[in-house]
């Protein structure tokens, strides 16, 4: 508990729409420890990005955020004033966004944008901040760092810009970094580099890292723990080995079945897919959100909300009525088919 950098309990984000209330995030609970990478996985629209914005306190104005607990390094950030939150953002926690092409201000040099971040939070001179910026640009693998400071974002490639963004979040040595699909907009060859870089920096600076992505291959390589989200809820949580080795929720099993594995998946064989579409999150929701698409659905599934329950191993939990044994059998069938 004391070691938790971020502690989230029962986080809910609702967005009022003309057609009703959109329950974007429903009762999310998780924690991140120092030096740990938590991956939040799920398809588009499952509430991953809103979760990260909710933690940062950057939700759109009309969104309604509630929680039982939201703590960063022991400090309550649920009820913190906006002024205190702006002190925390960029200082204790930083965020890396999906679109490196547009996330830097085109009107200012990257040096200016790096230095201002540090000078906002720390009583340092411009020269000290500049030295720190050079140090971090080199850390994130940018060559000729000092001369890069006078360049504008449009003079850099997407990969370089994302590296600059990473350096920017590191300027004040934060406890927690939230990376919201940091590689989605990048070339495949660059994606792996950026992720490994993030993982490396996270170990080096002993930070907590929340990695939000829908790329399971990425998760398997860098995550310590994984939370699988579906339709605004966590449906399975555990260590990376547990979730990937013994996926217990039918949705997780389906997701993993969608991924071709070199050498294992035969040529010409159909890749798995999950039939149906994500349910609407507008209005009153009850029962298992995945029931409509689940091939193991039973009548009980739609009757009432399904609770989170422990799987056979400690630290591994899932949201399904099937017993761990039944799930294991299903997984075996998927693998054999």
């Amino acid at each position: 508990m004391e070691n938790h950098i971020l502690n989230v309990r029962n986080l809910t984000v609702d967005i009022p729409l003309p057609s009703g209330m959109l329950h974007a995030v429903q009762g999310l609970s998780f924690h991140v420890d120092r030096g740990e990478t938590l991956a939040i996985v799920g398809e588009s629209g499952c509430g991953k990005s809103l979760t990260s914005l909710a933690i940062m306190g950057l939700l759109p104005k009309k969104a309604i955020r509630t929680a039982d607990l939201l703590e960063l390094a022991g400090e309550d950030i649920l009820n913190a004033t906006e002024s205190r939150m702006s002190d925390i953002r960029g200082s204790l926690m930083g965020m890396i966004f999906q679109e490196p092409m547009t996330s830097l201000n085109p009107a200012y040099t990257i040096g200016n944008q790096l230095i201002e971040t540090m000078r906002r939070h720390r009583p340092v001179s411009v020269d000290e901040a500049r030295d720190r910026a050079v140090f971090l640009l080199e850390k994130v693998g940018i060559t000729a760092a000092r001369s890069r400071l006078t360049q504008y974002p449009h003079q850099l490639s997407g990969g370089l810009r994302q590296r600059v963004m990473i350096a920017m979040t590191l300027m004040c040595g934060p406890d927690l970094i939230i990376a919201d699909e940091p590689t989605t907009a990048l070339d495949v060859t660059i994606q792996a580099q950026i992720l490994l870089l993030l993982a490396e920096l996270q170990k080096e600076f002993d930070m907590g890292l929340i990695l939000i992505t829908h790329d399971l291959g990425v998760v398997a390589r860098v995550a310590d723990r994984v939370a699988v989200m579906y339709a605004g809820q966590v449906v399975e949580e555990g260590s990376a080995t547990q979730v990937f080795g013994r996926p217990t929720h039918p949705y997780t099993q389906g997701l993993l079945d969608c991924i071709p594995i070199p050498g294992k998946t035969e040529r010409g064989k159909h890749l798995g897919s999950i039939p149906g579409i994500v349910p609407s999150l507008v209005g009153n929701l009850s029962g298992c959100r995945f029931a409509d698409r689940c091939q193991h659905a039973m009548t009980d599934c739609s009757a009432a909300d399904v609770g989170f329950r422990p799987a056979s191993e400690v630290g591994h939990a899932y949201r399904c009525l099937l017993t761990p044994e039944q799930s294991a059998q299903n997984a075996a069938k998927l693998g054999a088919a």
Partner: protein
């Protein structure tokens, strides 16, 4: 940046040459200038004399080169009506019009940009509605009518401001407001649209995620990007204002270039009109050039082109 500036300068010079050509050809637009000068009862001999004295007998190209060469060193010839040097009249009237133009533009920008920013920060609220109403009224209201309304209330009924002349800065208040208000709506709406656009951009979200204070987010990161189109628009609007100053100066009896233009048109004083058009056009060209430079300063991506 230097290459960009040189390119823009070259364009500006080309535009200036084109304008000078058009201005020069003004004399021949209303028929034979010698005949017009000589008047109805003149003999053929008088017309021939006038043609020779004013150089109208020379080839047109030579006439143009002579005229342009003189204009470049500040010699615009003699006024047909005032019997004095055109240049000296122009340069006593020019500062008055420039004062009016600068005051009107300042008024317009100081009203339009803050209102546009406020409207963008609180879209669809009371302040946005008020700004929109002001914009619609400004767009719909002819400036001469607005000027007359102001004269009636502030000048006559309440006697707060002088209604004619250019003796003190008080004389410039009503004309500047009348002239500036006309360009306010366009600038304000563009500022609002630009701000709305920028405020929802990813780099503003980044700025907030860095913990920057709202003031820094708004003024350092948002406004600079939002005003880029406004700068170009303001330069164009300033050109409109120079035209509009003909009406406003006439209404308020301000001895500026606008009023001189109006009088010269009535007197068919061609050299004077040519000089006024050329001077105002050059001002407009210089302003556009400066706006381009300012934009290049504000947005590094422009500098490349």
């Amino acid at each position: 940046m230097l290459i960009f500036a040189v390119k823009r300068l070259a364009v500006a010079i080309l535009v200036a040459i084109t304008v000078s050509l058009l201005t020069f050809s003004m004399i021949y637009l209303s028929g034979d200038p010698a005949m017009a000068l000589a008047g109805e009862s003149a003999t053929q001999q008088d017309i021939e004399n006038i043609r020779r004295v004013y150089g109208y007998d020379k080839p047109i190209v030579i006439q143009y080169i002579n005229w342009l060469g003189n204009a470049l060193v500040g010699d615009f010839g003699h006024s047909h009506y005032l019997k004095t040097d055109v240049a000296s009249v122009i340069f006593t009237r020019l500062p008055v019009t420039m004062t009016l133009g600068a005051a009107a533009l300042s008024f317009a920008l100081l009203l339009a940009i803050p209102l546009g920013v406020l409207a963008a920060m609180r879209p669809n609220t009371l302040i946005d509605r008020i700004a929109l109403t002001l914009a619609v009224i400004g767009q719909a209201l002819p400036s001469f009518w607005f000027a007359l309304i102001m004269i009636y209330w502030f000048g006559i009924v309440w006697g707060m401001l002088p209604i004619t002349g250019s003796a003190s800065w008080l004389n410039f208040v009503m004309p500047s407001v009348a002239l500036g208000y006309y360009v306010t709506p366009a600038v304000m709406r563009l500022t609002r649209a630009g701000m709305l656009d920028v405020l929802s951009s990813d780099y503003i979200r980044t700025a907030r995620a860095k913990g920057l204070r709202p003031v820094a987010v708004l003024f350092k990161h948002a406004l600079r990007n939002a005003v880029i189109p406004v700068v170009s628009l303001a330069a164009v609007q300033f050109g409109f204002m120079l035209g509009g100053s003909i009406v406003i100066e006439t209404i308020f009896a301000i001895n500026g270039l606008g009023q001189l233009a109006w009088e010269s048109i009535q007197r068919a004083d061609l050299p004077m009109m040519q000089a006024i058009v050329l001077v105002l056009a050059c001002f407009y060209i210089v302003l556009t050039f400066l706006a381009d430079l300012l934009n290049a300063f504000l947005d590094p991506r422009i500098r490349v082109g």
